[in-house]
Symmetry: C2
Subunit: 336 residues, 2 copies
DNA sequence: GCGCGCTATGGAAGCGCTTCCATGAGCGGC
DNA sequence: GCCGCTCATGGAAGCGCTTCCATAGCGCGC
């Protein structure tokens, strides 16, 4: 009786057989009320908690394959677009999807540990996050295929966008719309943000101002925009690392009386819901494409661990709205 | 060998013992390469898929309690606010959270069936959805506590808001801001939408126009708003059943050249992210309160099935922004 | 050439539960 | 008052896997 109590402990304490305990726990008829109460009391006394694994094993039932998806589900609306097609694709392949919200690094590690330790899944989708080589090796050893989305990861098949090129495109569009002094509001240390920053520097030159936002949020964007404008009042366009940052910047500009797009143009990144209402021009991410690719890739790998899954680079496009100037030509979108 | 293959089948086919099969599957060292390959080949040939439950049972390890949360995770940003505090509260109680996205009725039933059949959780949180009495009985029989949030459900402890009163409050605020002819853009058949509609009718009178949106989305809102304005051009305020509907209505009004709030006032419901940027006045839901309550309630019930959990009615407040007129008094918010 | 230690492997004992089957007790009808 | 029933219950056999322990084979040193 060291460790958690089992039905044997309950049976002993209630003075009945284990079969009876099982009947009580499963709400079978044909158990005398007093027996039932005695068992229930014993359960309560001992703090009994049936073992899920044992129940499932004994009860039989199908052993459906399961894939876990880790993502910062509620940090932005990014998961909106990714998760739906992922769930749909996996359901079509007869695979269950379990979602884990990963707000921070520590949660990520804990979740991965648990997934590995409990052998809780047959496949893994990593959204907007990477794992180290040791982790990858652990999953390989456990024969659990892993695919990544929105974040490349050494040795893992991944669907990504070319963040550098995307940011270069953003700068190009701003230039074509008449911008002369373009600045960048960068995100944090995450790979995607670093790449966007590198893309900006490549396109706008090392001399162009770059201010990192404390956090990739509206507040962070507003604060960074304030710093930027104080230091470089002549800026006439800002390419931002995310929509949230861009909205913060837009608010800060409005606060200072700088009209967009006439006095200053602003470009976001992501194209989250409602950005069209806000009128933010932005770089649109292929979120649904990420989800669909991940579903297909992980399903293939689950079915056959040796399957060849090709990494893909999904296209982005610039959606021009009210925070950039109207193009001379009639086209409203630029793809790449 | 009827049914799924087991390690015995693999062992037989590869001409080895089951212990060796297990070693291969768990990447133990000390297995000759050729033996390993033979086992792997047998696995591939037979389409072997280890049984998760058996692995966990045999491997031992902790049997952490687990709560499942069902919600339309990605329909709106509602889950943003609910899930975070829910996850945090459960983590503090040592309980794992598993999220299930429920886009439609069928998925709900399928998920509940599976949860019940696989005894996959020790507790359930229902977000924005109800279950029938038979379902509730099934969970009661399985001794799985269920709590509801944002949607009352017979016999289940729930955290809700008073949708009727909330909508009445919205109408009152609009009136105080000078509205004379107030209309309602209703949502669908969901209980919350029906109650909001009833609250509107109670406050505005049976003669006040009500147009149901085909879907509680921007598109649905815009279309319904068009119908409303065609039929009642003299409307000077719209109380909407959701923010999405309100944004659609706002867009439609702009399209028709009706300025908000001067010509027409618009009130949303929810206070989703970015509504402040859009400037939408709206009824704010206590989303974080829902999550926190659910965590505490279900944790208490898991620990002690007999625990007394009191249903709560959480307060809502009206957040006045740019789609309603500036109040004469300096206060910007009204609570209830 | 024999024994030792090491490696690769098989056998078997559970993990905690569900459930089939058997047992015993109580009970109405003849 | 005995027989055949039904009802409540206990015993034991797995569910498919991991892992401890034992065993067989083998190369090496003396």
């Amino acid at each position: 009786m060291s460790g958690d109590p089992t039905i044997y402990d309950i049976a002993a304490r209630a003075g009945v057989g284990i079969a009876t305990v099982s009947r009580v726990l499963n709400a079978h008829p044909r158990v005398k009320v007093e027996t039932r109460d005695a068992v229930l009391k014993a359960c309560a006394d001992l703090g009994f908690r049936p073992n899920r694994a044992a129940r499932r094993l004994a009860a039989g039932g199908p052993n459906r394959p399961r894939v876990a998806a880790l993502a910062p589900l509620f940090a932005t609306a990014f998961a909106y677009g990714v998760t739906r097609p992922l769930a749909a694709g996996l359901a079509a392949a007869g695979i269950d999807l379990v979602l884990y919200d990963i707000p921070d690094r520590e949660t990520k590690q804990r979740t991965l540990d648990r997934l590995l330790g409990e052998r809780a899944c047959e496949g893994l989708v990593l959204c907007s996050m990477g794992i180290g080589p040791e982790r990858a090796a652990q999953f390989a050893a456990a024969r659990i295929p892993v695919v990544a989305v929105d974040h490349p990861c050494d040795g893992l098949p991944a669907a990504t966008i070319d963040n550098r090129a995307a940011m270069r495109l953003a700068v190009e569009v701003l230039r074509e719309r008449g911008a002369r002094r373009i600045a960048h509001l960068a995100g944090g240390d995450a790979l995607a943000y670093r790449e966007r920053r590198a893309g900006f520097v490549a396109a706008a030159g090392a001399a162009a101002p770059v201010v990192p936002a404390e956090t990739p949020t509206r507040e962070g964007g507003a604060a960074a925009c304030g710093i930027l404008l104080d230091a470089h009042p002549d800026i006439d366009a800002i390419a931002c690392a995310s929509d949230a940052i861009a909205v913060g910047a837009l608010e800060e500009c409005r606060r200072r009386g700088l009209a967009a797009p006439d006095r200053i143009q602003i470009m976001g990144f992501d194209d989250q819901p409602f950005m069209d209402v806000i009128g933010l021009s932005t770089v649109r991410q292929p979120v649904a494409g990420f989800g669909a690719w991940a579903a297909q890739a992980v399903a293939a790998l689950c079915a056959d661990p040796g399957a060849a899954v090709t990494p893909v680079l999904l296209p982005v496009s610039v959606v021009e709205r009210q925070t950039t100037r109207t193009p001379a030509a009639p086209s409203r979108r630029r793809g790449r």
